[in-house]
């Protein structure tokens, strides 16, 4: 190899990245779940869903950024294994869908552009998408390697 990835040669780096990854996604997905459960009528009912989203906007975005960048570094240690892994590809598809959904339809539900029933549906879709990302991540280590 032309340049050795330093993350692959230092055994202590990988678990640190994983801890950052878990802490980051727990923060961002958890805050989104707080908003979603509020759309469903549970939790911080004194605030509107939009107020909760705004109050923790930067924390959720910060968690997402930490999760994505630690994830990219984890990916860099063994790219062939990851992009030839069904679970990883499904995880990436769910992640892109979840982020796109969050900044379009989900945002419209928060600004009051949808009926309450549609808001509840949006909350359920958001929860399912984000939990799918977590399942996709765990199953990378479980599914048979390769796309065949």
């Amino acid at each position: 190899m032309l340049i050795e990835n330093p993350l692959s040669t230092s055994p202590g780096a990988f678990p640190v990245l994983e801890c950052l990854h878990i802490a980051g996604f727990a923060l961002s997905i958890g805050i989104t779940a707080l908003v979603d459960f509020r759309l469903l009528g549970f939790g911080l009912r004194t605030q509107t869903p939009a107020q909760i989203a705004r109050a923790f906007e930067w924390w959720a975005l910060g968690g997402l950024i930490v999760a994505v960048f630690s994830g990219l570094l984890i990916f860099s240690t063994d790219p062939d294994m990851y992009y030839l892994n069904w679970s990883f590809l499904i995880k990436m598809a769910c992640l892109i869908l979840a982020i796109a959904f969050n900044y379009t339809i989900h945002r419209r539900a928060l600004s009051g552009g949808l009926s309450p029933a549609a808001g509840r549906l949006v909350a359920c879709i958001s929860l399912v998408l984000w939990v799918s990302v977590i399942f996709g991540g765990v199953f990378i280590a479980v599914v048979r390697p390769g796309l065949a």
């Binding site: 878990i22 923060l27 707080l34 911080l44 977590i134």
Partner: protein
């Protein structure tokens, strides 16, 4: 005495089945992580309010009161999944130093709750009377964040300790 009980536990049929199943174990792990996300965000929301860094237009009492039961349910979910993961390899976990540290930190969380029950969590309306969140509330919130982050990291590191040879798996 304790180890013989752990060996008995891990060899009970549902837990030994869980150990040998290729797919149920990761499903429980993914549910554990999902519950951690939900529970963790509620911990962070409460602590950020106690620190005065978020939701300042709402009262502390309101945030603590509204999240009390959701937090209990979230913890119960995470702890149930965690117990299932533990029970299938109870003996191995018992010797794992990160698992021991995680349990120790969980005991510290219980002590934290007892210590701050009277001054912070039990009477949050009192905290709202001051214009700024009192120092004791900020200390409680900072310690809580520190402890839970430690628990999260210990959980991940459990998987990096090699299991001992000679485990009594049936």
């Amino acid at each position: 005495m304790l180890t013989s009980w752990l060996i008995w536990l891990q060899n009970l049929e549902p837990f030994s089945d869980l150990r040998s199943s290729a797919y149920v174990y990761p499903v429980v792990l993914a549910l554990h992580l999902s519950a951690i996300s939900l529970f963790g965000a509620m911990i962070v929301a409460t602590d950020l309010r106690l620190l005065g860094w978020a939701l300042r237009d709402g009262s502390i009492a309101d945030v603590i009161g509204r999240l009390r039961w959701p937090k209990r349910i979230g913890f119960l979910l995470a702890a149930t999944c965690g117990f299932l993961l533990f029970s299938s390899k109870a003996e191995e976990y018992y010797y794992n130093s990160f698992f021991r540290t995680k349990i120790l930190l969980l005991i510290l969380v219980a002590i934290h709750a007892l210590v701050f029950r009277r001054s912070v969590y039990g009477d949050p309306a009192e905290l709202d009377r001051a214009p700024e969140s009192p120092a004791r509330a900020k200390v409680a919130a900072g310690l809580s964040l520190f402890l839970w982050l430690g628990i999260l990291c210990c959980g991940r590191y459990i998987g990096y300790v090699e299991g001992r040879a000679g485990m009594h798996f049936k």
